[in-house]
Amino acid sequence: MKKVKIYKLQNNGDEHVIVTCTLTDSSVVCEGNEAFVNNLQTSGIRNYTDQSSGAMLFPLDGIKFLENLKYAFRSSYLSATDIIDEA
């Protein structure tokens, strides 16, 4: 299954997964930190791969949402993986 994991930098320098987003059929299911998941579902993320589109992306947008997570979360404290194939 195609997934993206979002990591948060901890006080000791370790990075822990706080949210996992999984492509299921044509939409994405996000699981993990409740507040974070809620914000993804209600506020969405920017569409970085199509700058001309001003519309936000949401889990229901499926693979497009998954593809853009790594651009939306790429700071020192919060970072998302590229899409990974995992059971």
């Binding site: 948060k8 930190n33 700071s75």
Partner: protein, 284 residues
């Protein structure tokens, strides 16, 4: 244990004056020999002079590194470094001059949004080390009630960050790279800013979430910071010299012009109106 010590010392330092005047004689006498020996690449020229140096900069630049871990899933070339006896930081080898410059601009303006950031050598590589903020959260981590509290408690800091981002032409502000802790905003990750060529300097960038601030009165604190900056010619010169070491004299001069542009605008009008989306440098 190192983190507990750091947090205690950090709280103590923050309770004291943020600027410590250190005479150049004391500074040379007390500076660890390791720092002098480390300066084989001439990086001491990037240090703030004693009269404006933040005490936390001294910690970041002089403490031995005890461990480091790669972070960021390889998207950014960053490491988490632990420093002996006191603190930890984020070490970057890409766009590190932008990180240091953003901190300097923030510090000299007195906004206090950017964690202390220095240039130093770690494991043979030169980069920026920025103080790590433990227990800080990104906006995306906040629940509904916390977000409402954040918008109420941190509005002034958000407005400050909005103006700061326009000054430094930050092309990459998003909810993942500003943090919230104890009703304060911490602005981080300024690698994609200060990227000036003649065309991009004539544009400004900011986080869209701050667009609401156009036409709104700016906090008194922001106006005071700019007024104070405009009055301190010596500090302006020091900032320009520090920026010239990072980039070159011409770029440093452009940055100072840009800061003064916004300073004059805010101190005379008290607000920034929409339509400012491009600045004609020739008009400055």
């Amino acid at each position: 244990m190192a983190f507990e010590l750091f947090r205690f010392r950090d709280a103590k330092k923050k309770a004291e004056a943020t600027t410590e005047i250190v005479s150049s004689e004391n500074f040379q006498e007390n500076k660890p020999a390791a720092v002098a020996a480390m300066d084989t690449s001439g990086i001491r020229k990037y240090e703030s002079p004693p009269e404006v140096r933040n005490p936390q900069e001294e910690v970041l630049v002089s403490r031995d590194k005890t461990s480091s871990k790669k972070i960021g899933r390889g998207v950014t070339d960053s490491s988490f470094v632990e420093l002996k006896d006191d603190g930890s930081g984020i070490f970057k080898t890409e766009d590190h001059f932008n990180e240091r410059a953003a901190y300097l601009i923030d510090r000299f303006l007195g906004f206090n949004l950017v964690p202390p950031t220095v240039i130093r050598q770690v494991d043979g590589e030169i980069g920026s080390v920025q103080e790590f903020i433990p227990d800080a959260r990104a906006v995306d981590e906040l629940g509904v009630q916390s977000q409402q509290n954040f918008e109420r408690n941190c509005r002034d800091d958000l407005m400050k960050m909005w103006v700061f981002d326009m000054i430094i032409h930050n092309q990459d502000r998003h909810p993942g790279n500003f943090l919230v802790k104890d009703k304060r905003v911490y602005a981080i990750d300024h690698g994609r800013s200060l990227d000036f060529d003649q065309s991009s300097f004539e544009k400004i960038s900011f986080w869209e979430g701050c667009r609401q601030f156009f036409g709104r009165p700016l906090p008194n604190d922001v106006t005071k910071c700019f007024k104070s900056f405009l009055e301190k010619q010596t500090e302006q010169k020091i900032l320009e010299d520090l920026l010239a070491e990072l980039y070159n004299r011409e770029k440093a001069s452009i940055i100072l012009k840009r800061i003064k542009y916004f300073a004059e605008l805010v101190t005379t009008k008290g607000e920034i109106r929409s339509g400012i989306e491009s600045i004609q440098i020739d008009a400055l």
